[in-house]
Amino acid sequence: VLIPCYGDGDALPLVLEQLSTKLQGRVAHVFLVDDGNAPALDFVRLARIPFSFSLTLLSHGVNLGQGAALETARQHALATIPDPELIVVTYDADGQHLPDDALALIAAVEAGADAAIGNRFLGRSNPPLLRRVLLQAARGFEFLLTGRLFGDAHNGLRAFSRKTADCMVIAPARMAHATGMMISLCRMRPRAIIVEVPVSIPYSARSLAKGQRSSAAMLVIVDLLVHALFRPRPSRSLGP
């Protein structure tokens, strides 16, 4: 389970505890990325909590954005867990996802899907009207870029098979990664079986205040354009 965390340190222990309860009995690993939090996430404190999973903390010295944090976690998970049956799940740190939904996505990948993505419109979610309109526009935009029409766009809850996670790249660094990773997935594995699973996102004043602002939609488009236009040729990776 890949969890990027920036500004959600207060909600994190509860999120991890809920996840821990639901993942009991499974061999699970959480790759938590501290994306430049100040103060930094306290690994010693987190390590004291008896989670059912192993927890790896990766700390970004500076804030890079959710996409970059997920990419760090993806690279590290794939490099440290050689299991070919590995299922990679992306999960938000702010508590807006339900662990049961994550299990449903995992079950979909175990059943043979290459990727399972959460669809809040099929579940019990209550997005405000403006968010609904923007998400519908984002669906159309994603269709133009990927050739596939998904029921939801920019849902942080997703699961990928090892084969799929191996060949995709999570970019660009900031919020546009949600569309960026679907473009990467559809380009690298055009025949991938992608299923949509109903998920519930309970919107609250807190989650709306902390989440992506509706006005950020334009920034996402600009970010994608800049990424596509000005991306340099791949250089030698500095990663270990």
Binding site: V27, V33, L64, L78, P82, V226, P232, S235, G239
Partner: protein, 129 residues
Amino acid sequence: VSLATLGLLTLVAALFAYDVVSNRGMRRDLWLQGLVFAAGAVFIAMPEWSTRIANRVGIGRGADLILYLATIWLTRESLQARREAQSTRLRLEELTRAFARASAQTTASGRAQKEAGGGPPDLDPSAHE
């Protein structure tokens, strides 16, 4: 000398003076900037000179010639700056990621799982991408 000419010349001189003072005259590119600003000042003071040059290359007005050159140059500079900013950002991302992965911390429960045959192995640089 018109008021506009005087205002523009003052602006050019003030900007250059500010750049010299703020960079403490240490940057070599100030010479290039000074040269371009001086040429600009000449064309502001003597607009008929740029028109004469423009006519020789088949362009009607001197202002058009300057505008074309400035547009081409500024567009190129803008794209180049964007390219370099993006490249620097990606390098920062790679560097930050490399540090994060090299200093990753894993919990004891993870080690316990690993001993049972399920957890991630110890960080082994040769095992990484």
